[in-house]
Symmetry: C2
Subunit: 201 residues, 2 copies
């Protein structure tokens, strides 16, 4: 299977990087074809310009490439820290520019203005989202209601046609021990293998 | 009063621009001092780099300026379209870089690592958020749960110490008439005046 892995964390020594690398390794071991983007390292241009809002807009090559990849992906893995209950701007900009009309969703015939329901176009059978957080999970739920769950699941992924969705938050990172982080990476490996088993020959 | 107005929409002819201009005019008529930022026009650098994560990080001048302004603001007005239940990356990046530890929030003594509760530092007495949407409000609530409400109110503004919070979404924009948009701008003016009346001499 073709699997896209999208990572957004500014620090190359971050635990997010360790998660993404672990997931990529687990996918490769299962024989999958991995398309990996470390958005910060690649300096992804994350700000949607006005000219790209129309559905028929001409797109720069880098955006065309990301669009083609995500449209063809049979699975997607997204890795990022929880910043203000949302992805970092870098990843939000990837969503703004790449999950475009005609790529990730469309509207029903006769609804050219797009005020109605989305029809998802992504063909990814499964999407995994791995997050890190420095807010204890009980507090995240009690005070904030864990908006990332709703955002990824309802607003972004299921609307765009993803079939299965699974999300896991690791934390509290900042006070974690090495041993704990090793256990978390083992969990990343297990989750990745479980959702993307080897393709039958 | 010093009021910061922050706008994020890529199209200078957008209804978001009309909202922001209407709010700025209403504030000036009441004698307030307005600090207005059109983040797209100013090409705000919206991507938080790794070097800025530490609390004691040295900041570029533009970020220092935005931090000083928001820390001193007695009121804040934020204007942006609802993109995927979230602000555009441009505005998310402003939040990532400007609502920093030591500027917008801090942690209790002894919690240097910041795994605990935030203590808000913003002194803004009132914050208004004006949004535009192309999703009918009933569908936004039923399918998506209106995550922007939770994000601005709980995750960002009240956590950072803002006292009063009011948010209004205008839409569906794409199918609206000129007359409807004029009525919406009159509402922006009324809401702005109500929340920021003239300061007694």
């Amino acid at each position: 299977m073709k699997i896209s892995v999208i990572l957004a964390h500014p620090d190359k020594n971050s635990f997010n990087h360790a998660i993404a690398e672990t997931a990529v390794e687990a996918l490769k071991e299962k024989g999958h074809e991995v398309v990996f983007h470390d958005l910060y390292r690649e300096r992804f241009p994350a700000i949607l310009p006005a000219a790209e809002i129309p559905r028929s807009a001409a797109l720069p090559r880098i955006i065309r490439r990301h669009c083609a990849e995500i449209a063809m992906a049979e699975g997607i893995i997204i890795v990022h820290p929880n910043w203000w209950g949302q992805p970092p701007a870098m990843l939000k900009g990837w969503v703004d520019r790449v999950l475009r009309p005609g790529v990730a969703y469309t509207f029903e015939e006769g609804d050219e203005k797009g005020a109605g329901d989305l029809i998802g176009l992504l063909k990814a059978g499964a999407v995994l989202v791995f997050n890190t957080s420095n807010t204890p999970q009980e507090r995240e739920l009690a005070v904030f209601g864990d908006p990332l769950e709703m955002l990824w699941k309802n607003n972004m992924l299921l609307s765009c046609g993803a079939k299965k969705y699974f999300r896991k938050t690791f934390g509290v990172i900042i006070t974690s021990t090495l041993k704990q982080r090793q256990l978390w990476l083992a969990e990343v490996e297990e989750i990745t293998r479980r959702h993307f088993p080897a393709t039958p020959a």
